[in-house]
Amino acid sequence: MNFLSIIPFLLAITLAPLLPGIINRTKALFAGRRGQPFLQTYFDLWKLLHKGAVYSHTTTWLFRAGPMLGLAAVLVAVALVPLGNFPALIAFPADFFLFACLLGLMRFFTVLAALDTGSSFEGMGASREVFFSALTEPALLVALATLARQAGNLSLSAIFSQVSGGHWLQAGPVMALVLIALMIVLLAENSRIPVDDPNTHLELTMIHEVMVLDHGGLDFAFILYGAALKLWALSALVVGMIVPDTGAVWLNLVLPVGGMFLVAVIVGVVESTMARLRLLIVPQLLVGAGALAAMAFLLGLNK
């Protein structure tokens, strides 16, 4: 580990709130609107940080601890993710299990805080979130295992620095399947459109948004920031698969960051051109992503 590995982490915690801004601007462009400023999430976070929170009498300490622990979990998860060919802040063999685990932990605390309010809507949202994540987690783990097998290494940083154009040439179908599976996981985990609509305000159809309805002020700022960081972490996985090693330090830094913004634009395009799937169909999509990942794993095993 060298001092350069701090750069991906610093970039993540400073630039992550930009991604939702880019997604929203892309959607605005498709809808013919001017859209909110790119920095809107920063403004929102600044505003929320200066507000106090109101707590219901029925909630306990769990409700207050939820956003804090969730943010802590996702911060550690971000520290595990490399950016392109830059190694992550923390790297050790099989760290992708810890990565998946931390995302699960973040969700667990959000769900606990949601259940703690005693609101029936939040319970419904929590139930759906847990159900869907139970289907995305195998897809994520199998996809990462396939990459680990292709790269011949078990640490996220090593995997993404070794996966290169050669792998795409030799095992193109395998890499493409993993990429598609990771993209579906990204959309589902960040409650984006084919799975969940971040703009909906009907409690019956909301999944993630409904769980954080009762949070306000500082707590909600933590949740917003945590969501942006999670989006950054999963986009970094997708970007790491595509971005080649150019050899030059500056190019190795600029290309992945540009790739992150491109992923945000793609998410915006998907959101603008697709409708949200019916809740009954969503498990099929997620199991499909898992099937693609498993197929890639099997094909990769038998080169």
Binding site: G172, P173, V287, G288, A291, A294, L299, K303
Partner: protein
């Protein structure tokens, strides 16, 4: 080599799509697409020693599987008023997961089978085996007769995939014969579906169990 692998991946993807699909119309289209993709396989698998028989085989396959079968099956859907929804015994998500398990079993079996060295790709035998098993699974897990015809076609596509991989050894006559068999089979099944439908008001095969003398 890369193109062959791409086609094999497409075959696996179409099979998985069939296992998870709920509409008869889209299933017919997927089977047709699979037939067209497989039609290109003999040309791509033997690019360096391309001969007239592979070209003829490819043209015949694309014509029959990509044009004649879909037209015939869509006609059966229209004439027999088949409901557009497939009624499965096994749910779509379970079918999809079973598909993944079947794929794993196929790969495992092909590591133990003495597969000939001359195959165009190391994925060819497992994918062929997967198509055969997936077709069998579709036949036993769907209620409607038409979905079972589709399962039969997928099964035949598996046999065909394996045959193409071995084409230098096997004769064109066998391939053509299989194609003709399948054509006649689908023809007969289509007519049967139509006639069953005219006699009875549904083509659910589960009701056949209650037929007793």
């Amino acid at each position: 080599m890369i193109l062959t692998n791409l086609i094999l991946v497409l075959v696996v993807l179409t099979n998985l799509k069939l296992l998870g699909s709920s509409r008869i119309g889209s299933s017919i289209r997927v089977v047709a697409a699979q037939g067209v993709v497989l039609g290109l396989l003999p040309i791509l698998a033997h690019v360096h020693d391309l001969s007239l028989r592979f070209t003829l085989l490819a043209i015949g396959t694309v014509a029959i599987k990509g044009v004649v079968f879909p037209w015939f099956l869509f006609r059966a859907v229209r004439e027999a008023d088949v409901a557009r929804e497939i009624e499965p015994y096994v749910g779509y998500v379970t079918s999809l997961l079973s598909g993944v398990v079947i794929l794993a079993v196929s790969f495992w079996m092909c590591q133990r089978l003495p597969v000939p060295e001359t195959l165009a790709s190391s994925w060819l035998a497992p994918v062929a085996l997967f198509s055969i098993f997936a077709g069998l699974f579709l036949i036993i897990s769907r209620k409607r007769a038409l979905s079972q015809v589709l399962g039969f076609l997928v099964l035949e596509n598996g046999v065909y995939t394996f045959g193409v991989g071995l084409a230098p050894q096997s004769s064109l006559l066998v391939e053509a014969g299989v194609l003709l068999d399948v054509f006649v089979a689908v023809f007969v099944m289509g007519i049967t579906i139509f006639h069953i439908n005219r006699e009875f008001d549904h083509i659910n095969t589960e009701k056949l169990n209650t037929l007793k003398d």
